[in-house]
């Protein structure tokens, strides 16, 4: 009798679970082999579109329209706009607008904000239109553009502020950049206008960095990955750590050290934070900041780095975190709620060892901090493993966005492929 009861309970549970699954079902069919991606059990993926040029960040509108920022103009075209009219997840309409390349792209207050290397502009959309109704408004102009870490990326808080990553046009603030024996400038003058996050108003036109920008946090070499976490009201970034330790300081670092140092750092930023670049880097074996060799360090000493901001999590060296997004939707299983997805573009600076990254990782969160270590969420982008040379990778994950139904969109910088990952 008890046995039958147990079976009955089991059947009811299964039915209920089945109902739950139906409630949040996406109704989408995955591509065979999930479009080349390896995903955790239960997840699936399809290719929304491909061959869109060198994709950068991606945004999805409330009606499901998808936008992709281009690294270069694609036959003279700027931002890519995509629409699926049949509900199968595949884009049927491809259109373009704007005449600037760029990286940062985000929907905010019914505008699409777009960051070119020297400005932030925004487009207004009428009703359900795929293309913007008029010319863009310039929110920030005259941002300095150098020849390194020039891509600008953006995030917004809930009280009217825009945050812009302004990367440092330098590896380690040497007098002569990336030159053996050239000393680190002290203090590093680059930090006055670069190497940090600047705050602006999100709705005031024609702001400039000099006049209106507020340096929110400094000592950040380049943080292409930036997002505001609305759940806890804090800004988070992931930094690209410095390169070439072994090349310039072979007395302290060998090939293996260079391949594994320094960690890519995940920061929870508070106003006024100094995260240490160029004076310090994070060693995730020693689990502390270390004084950079350009400033007298020997791979072990701490010196002035004692008071610098520590990361909340460290990732493998050189893997190039290029986008960050907190997941607040219902589609994915409960453990993903409020956690962070990070797209790693993949390394170039681990030679002669194999390259690493080329994946999307997940970090579980509770409140403001991670509750565990990171794990690989999506992999297989490179199409070849190991990746010996960056150019061997068939795709490199670049941008992340979450659609209105909770699907995760991933863009690619090699061929402009867009994947949609869902929990069917």
């Amino acid at each position: 009798m008890i046995h039958i009861k147990q079976i009955a309970i089991l059947v009811i549970c299964t039915l209920l679970a089945g109902c739950n699954r139906t409630d949040r079902s996406t109704g989408l069919n995955p591509d065979s082999g999930n479009g080349g991606l390896r995903l955790p059990e239960g997840f699936a993926a399809l290719v929304v579109a491909e061959n869109l040029g060198q994709g950068r960040h991606i945004a999805v509108n409330g009606n499901g329209d998808i936008f992709l920022a281009p690294r270069e103009l694609n036959n003279g075209h700027g931002i890519v706009a995509l629409r699926d009219t049949t509900g199968d997840g595949k884009a049927d309409i491809t259109a373009y607008f704007g005449d600037l390349p760029g990286t940062g792209l985000q929907i905010h207050k019914e505008y699409l904000y777009f960051a070119h290397d020297t400005c932030v502009i925004r487009y207004k959309f009428h009703a359900n239109d795929l293309l913007p109704e008029s010319e863009p408004e310039t929110i920030v102009s005259g941002l300095k553009r150098e020849y390194q870490h020039e891509a600008k990326t953006i995030a917004f808080d809930a009280v009217g502020n825009l945050y812009v990553n302004i990367g440092a046009p330098s590896n380690a603030c040497q007098k002569d950049d990336r030159t053996p024996g050239s000393p680190g400038l002290d203090p590093c003058p680059i930090l006055e206008m670069y190497g940090g996050i600047w705050r602006f108003k999100d709705d005031v036109k024609n702001q400039t960095q000099e006049k209106d920008g507020h340096r929110f946090a400094t000592g950040l070499r380049n943080c292409v990955a930036i997002d505001w976490n609305n759940k806890v009201n804090n800004l988070y970034v992931v930094q690209h750590g410095r390169d070439q330790l072994n090349q310039f300081y072979p007395e302290y670092y060998d090939d293996n050290d260079n391949a594994n140092l320094p960690a890519e750092e995940f920061f929870l930023l508070e106003e006024g934070d100094d995260c240490g670049w160029p004076y310090c880097y994070f060693d995730d074996q020693k689990i502390r900041k270390v004084l950079a060799p350009e400033y007298g360090g020997n791979g072990d000493s701490i010196g002035r780095c004692a008071g610098k901001k520590d990361p909340i999590l460290a990732f493998p060296a050189h893997t190039a975190p290029n986008d960050l997004i907190f997941y607040t939707h219902e589609q994915f299983p409960e453990e993903y709620k409020n956690g962070a997805f990070i797209a790693f573009h993949g390394s170039w600076n681990r030679s002669p060892q194999v390259q690493k990254g080329y994946n999307v990782v997940f970090v579980p969160f509770y409140d403001k901090l991670p509750t565990g270590d990171w794990s690989v969420f999506a992999d297989g982008f490179s199409g070849t493993e190991p990746v010996n040379n960056t150019g061997d990778a068939a795709h490199r994950p670049m941008g992340l966005a979450v659609g209105p139904d909770g699907s995760l969109y991933i863009s690619d910088s090699v061929h402009g492929t867009i994947w949609r990952v869902f929990y069917p």
Binding site: Y252, P352, N389
Partner: protein, 139 residues
Amino acid sequence: MKHFILSGLLFLLLFSCGRTKKPPETTTTEPGKEVYMKYCLACHPMDGSGVPGMYPTLQKTDWVQEDKTRLISLMLDGQQGEIIVNGQIFKGVMPAHQYLTDEQIADVLTYIRSNYGNNADPVTPAEVARLRSTQTGQN
């Protein structure tokens, strides 16, 4: 006992040197390859393929095989801003390599001109010296 003390001392000596690493040993007999491995490898990896969008390929390209003056100047002065190589745009920074000797620059350019699918005549230290001496305001 004596052996223990000796080994202990030896261990201490070795350990105290721990943080200072010897430069990587090179086994190659090609001087140009040695220079390449030390100064070029990070950005133009083992196969000379570069990094898409950032650092140009050295494979089968006019930049490596043709105009020697342009090639030597690129080494001496570096370059920044867009550069188009084999039809692709690259935006990374090439640092100036004034600190290398005429021999080192000649060796490494000769190396890349005869590898990675390139087939061009060697660069001599005299050619590098001549170009270096015509430059003003360098160093």
